[in-house]
């Protein structure tokens, strides 16, 4: 019988607010900032300091919840989650427990197996912890350093239902969430800086069963690769137990990224009792329905809707639509270029240029769309010139490369380098005559009936014109000349 995994994900996404969740300290890049420079009495938990809710964090969290199709609770409650750790200055984390910010959402994910809806159980606001650095000196002395720059940074916890049935689905869901928070501009999505982290709940069962078996929780998953590897390993481990008829023990495991293995942390008996209770320092959080509607109205088009629309409106393949909607900035770029290029250039042609040439140049240079010096309008201008016959396709590619490098317009580059395509029949007649004069043998062969030689002669004319001649006109003029020679030969 086949075994099926049951996977749920908890995703922690930092919110890129100006200040921290409960104090006025700036949110800084905790991977680069000087330690303990964005710290105040509140986030360092000095005696007597009190938290105050950051409205921007509530707004951003609400936007995400709306994008995930959640119902926003008019009143939600902050709670204290109690545990000791040196990176948790208050000895409790302010989180939400019984009444979260939002509940009951769902998103559509796509895998090779098709589309599926994954339900979102809840979305709640909390604060991040500080960071510990473990040091071992050359003399073998060991100690830990505490950096509180990250302590109190707003964190959104997004909890799914256990709706995923494969590693691919878990990864697709995680990537979809990342894509959504990036679309909303509330999180950079920069996994290396730890602004998004995952925890996976995994259990297995015989396919066809709807049992929810004992699950394990895997913490400390800071990349898609870690998520994929850890869940794959855990499914394999549990599947083996299931086949052997042995029980899975409920436990919390940690992912050891360096070694690429999960390590058991705590069993159920050792599980923390967090002693949640309502945070007395903060009144219930009210999110008025009018505010929710304002935020809803201001939501951008979300990745999945845009993916569908690109296929329908622009006639793109699913693949092209997917790459072009992966990032909001790219999709915006594409649509601006399509608009500026219409009606001369079809949307599919624009898609080919963006996903082919432009992405190629971006990859080579290692930059993202924001750093591209070619505006969508400038790209459209180039494509219109190609469509209008001013330059040919190949020249267009080199012009784009030059535009990408220098930021100059297509017109400037074409003028400077004299790349303008020559369609003038008189000029082309001159080049044709010159070529025919220079290749009497080939001409003779042609006249004797070897039609294929015309292609050679065509190539020679193009070469003489340094690629700038309009190939259509060259072929017309060349053929006319050849036919005239043949006629005069016949007459003679």
């Amino acid at each position: 019988m086949e075994i099926e995994p049951v996977i749920g994900l908890e995703i922690h996404a930092e919110l890129n607010t100006k200040s921290k969740m409960f104090c006025a300290c700036p949110v800084v890049d905790s991977t680069t900032a000087e330690p303990n420079t964005a710290v105040c009495p509140v986030c360092a938990a000095m005696p007597g300091a009190l938290p105050v809710v950051n409205k921007e964090a509530v707004a951003k969290g609400t936007k995400v919840a709306l994008a995930l199709g959640c119902t926003i609770n008019r009143v939600s409650i902050f709670a204290r989650k109690n545990y000791f750790y040196p990176d948790l200055p208050k000895g409790y984390q302010i989180s939400q427990y019984e009444l979260p910010l939002a509940e009951h959402g769902a998103i559509t994910i796509r895998t090779a197996a098709g589309e599926r809806r994954i339900r979102v159980r809840r979305v709640h606001l909390e604060e991040d912890t500080g960071k510990l650095t473990h040091v071992r000196t050359e003399s073998g002395e060991e100690y830990s350093l505490v950096d509180l720059n990250r302590a109190g940074v707003p964190l959104l916890e997004i909890v799914s239902e256990p709706d995923m049935r494969s590693v691919e689905e878990a990864k697709a869901y995680a990537m979809a969430i990342r894509q959504i928070v990036r679309y909303l501009g509330v999180n950079s999505g920069d996994m290396e800086k730890g602004v998004i982290r995952f925890e996976a709940n995994v259990s297995v069962r015989w396919k066809g069963s709807d049992a929810l078996n004992t699950r394990t929780e895997i913490k400390n998953l800071n990349s898609f690769r870690a998520l994929e590897q850890a869940v794959t390993q855990e499914i394999a481990r549990q599947s083996e137990l299931l086949r052997r008829g042995e029980p899975v023990v409920q436990q919390t495991m940690g992912w050891d990224d360096a070694r690429g293995v999960t390590v058991p942390q705590r069993s159920k008996e050792e599980a923390h009792d967090y002693r949640y209770f309502p945070e007395p320092d903060l009144p219930p959080l009210e999110v008025p329905p009018e505010w929710v509607e304002e935020l809803r109205a201001a939501l951008p088009e979300l990745p999945y809707a845009r993916f569908r629309r690109f296929q329908e409106q622009y006639g793109l393949t699913a693949y092209a639509a997917e790459v072009l909607t992966a990032e909001r900035a790219v999709a915006d770029y594409y649509e601006a270029a399509v608009e500026a290029a219409a009606p001369a250039v079809p949307a599919q042609t624009v898609a080919n240029w963006v996903t082919g040439e432009l992405f190629g140049l971006m990859n080579q240079a290692g930059v993202d769309i924001a750093a591209v010096k070619v505006s969508p309008q400038a790209l459209a201008d180039l494509l219109r010139r190609i469509a209008g016959g001013e330059i040919n396709n190949n020249t267009g590619k080199s012009v784009l490369a030059e535009m990408f490098a220098s930021g100059k317009s297509a017109a400037e580059i074409i003028a400077e380098k004299g790349l303008k395509q020559v369609s003038d029949e008189a000029a082309i007649q001159g080049w044709v005559e010159e070529v025919l004069a220079a290749h009497p043998k080939e001409l003779e062969t042609y006249l004797k009936g070897k039609e294929g030689v015309a292609n050679f002669l065509f190539g020679q004319v193009m070469r003489l014109a340094r690629g700038q001649a309009n190939p259509k006109v060259v072929r017309q003029v060349l053929m006319r000349n050849l036919q005239e020679r043949r006629k005069s030969l016949d007459a003679g």
């Binding site: 005696p47 007597g48 105050v52 000791f84 000895g91 949640y276 209770f277 007395p280 009144p283």
Partner: protein, 489 residues
């Protein structure tokens, strides 16, 4: 020692300088505090310097024809659970032995902005957990009326300092009676404002949903001025309320006519000392003579106040005190392992009562017990709140004894925490319901120990109760009595 109103009048009239009054205060502390031990920290140099600066400022204001800040040059003592920038703040605990806050509590900052001068920090039960100051890690404070007795607590240092006339005014905090009960034991006036009236920012938290900043003075009139200056919403405290500040002066009333005062029958139980009941009834007679209508009322859930309080306050405290881990401030016990640093630091530097309450609160919040303890306590708290709401539909004020007894002997309750907890039965309901209360002297027992009475009012009606206390104080002189300790003064 004169009242605040008298000192401010003399300062404004130029009859006395801030330097003189501050030097006088410091001299009294030096003379009396070795016996009373009201102070944990005294800051004479900074205080005298600030006083000299205040005198210069007053002169400059006078020359410029400007009104100086209302408290300019007035010396003040602050309970050692309120953060004072640059001045050691211990909470009566070894775990904050050398802690110097980098900021002022909002209440302190507002008084400093009004020109007040801090002369020192007063003794308290460790983290305000206690009713006698016996739980201070730095030794007990002695009641100025009888040095063998406690001053009450936890703001016992502040109450004793005002009673011994070392300072004209001292800040306290009231989580379960910690301003009103020591005021009663020491024969001074103590105000516990409505929860949310004064910012808690900088008040080192014990029970966050109960903690209030209060003030101890000789008169209700003085308390009104301090309430006026400290009140008002604070962007740093999300539980502070946006309501109009109460007025600075108690004006517009000559007597108590038209005021209905309810006396809850549940507050006159068998455990109450007869002298206390007698004094309270006598005070009510005076109030009736002044025109008040006295009637019986009921607060039926009063008997649950002690268990409800000791579950909620300790639950909150168990989290509030988690930050004292030896990592960022305070002394740190040395250990090889991280967990041992936490456990040893907390084990060595917290006192026994604090540990008891942390354990009690931790237990009340634990999985499997939460509903039966913390959850249930919250439900009963709602009933206690409703008691007050219903009572205040019938009466304007509620009058009651502050404590069942007068000041007890040092050591009398030690070894029996429960009997000590029961001392708080009359003061806890106001904290659980958030209503304001004022305690003021209404007589003495046979041993010459002061007896206090409290008035409680609806939320944000501090002025109503202070005004009633003020009218009473105009008609009586209990608040003017001084302990024999001051006979030579």
């Amino acid at each position: 020692m004169q009242t605040v109103a008298q000192i401010l009048h003399a300062l404004q009239a130029g009859e006395i300088s801030s330097r003189e009054i501050t030097a006088d205060v410091l001299a009294r502390i030096e003379r009396l505090d070795p016996q009373v031990h009201a102070f944990l920290t005294v800051t004479p140099e900074a205080a005298l310097q600030a006083a000299a600066e205040a005198d210069r400022q007053r002169l400059a204001a006078r020359r410029a024809g400007q009104t100086p800040p209302p408290l300019l040059g007035l010396p003040l003592a602050v309970k050692d659970v309120l953060s004072t920038r640059g001045i050691r703040t211990t909470c009566g605990s070894r775990i904050l032995d050398n802690y110097i806050p980098p900021f002022d509590a909002t209440a302190v900052q507002r008084l400093k902005a009004a020109g007040a001068i801090i002369v020192g920090k007063t003794n308290t039960d460790e983290f305000a957990m206690g009713s006698s100051t016996e739980n201070s890690a730095y030794g007990v404070t002695h009641n100025p009326w009888d040095l063998e007795r406690v001053p009450g607590g936890s703001s016992g240092g502040s109450a004793a300092a005002v009673a011994a006339r070392m300072v004209p005014v001292a800040l306290g905090t009231d989580t379960g009676g910690s301003v009103r009960q020591p005021a009663s034991f020491c024969g001074v006036t103590g105000l516990k404002p409505t929860y949310g009236r004064i910012s808690r920012y900088g008040l080192i938290a014990y029970g966050s949903s109960l903690d209030t900043v209060g003030v101890l003075t000789q008169t209700a009139e003085d308390a009104a001025l301090f309430l006026h200056l400290m009140a008002g919403q604070d962007p740093l405290d999300a539980t502070s309320m946006d309501v109009p500040r109460p007025p600075q002066r108690l004006e517009g009333r000559e007597d108590l006519r038209g005021l209905k005062i309810g006396v809850p029958r549940e507050y006159f139980t068998e455990g109450i000392q007869p002298a206390v009941a007698r004094a309270v009834h006598a005070a009510l007679d005076v109030m009736a003579d002044l025109g008040a209508a006295i009637e019986e009322t009921s607060l039926p859930h009063t008997e649950y106040a002690v268990p409800v309080y000791y579950l909620i306050a300790t639950a909150e405290a168990s989290a509030n005190l988690a930050r004292f881990d030896g990592i960022r401030y305070g002394p740190r016990a040395q250990a090889e392992q991280m967990w041992d640093v936490f456990f040893r630091t907390r084990g060595q530097y917290f006192g026994p009562e604090v540990k008891r309450r942390i354990m009690l609160g931790t237990y009340a919040l634990s999985a499997g017990y939460y509903d039966a303890y913390y959850g249930q306590a919250q439900k009963v708290r709602t009933l206690i709140k409703r008691d007050f709401e219903e009572a205040f539909e019938q009466v304007d004020l509620i009058a009651a004894p502050v404590a069942p007894t007068t000041a007890f002997r040092i050591g009398q309750h030690s070894g029996d925490p429960l009997s000590m907890y029961l001392e708080d039965v009359f003061t806890l309901p106001a904290n659980l319901s958030g209503v304001p209360g004022v305690s003021f002297p209404v007589g003495f027992d046979d041993l010459g120990l002061p007896i206090g009475m409290q008035l409680m009012g609806p939320h944000f009606q501090e002025t109503r109760l202070l005004h009633a206390a003020h009218i009473y104080q105009q008609a009586t002189d209990w608040h003017r009595h001084q302990p024999d300790l001051l006979a030579g003064d």
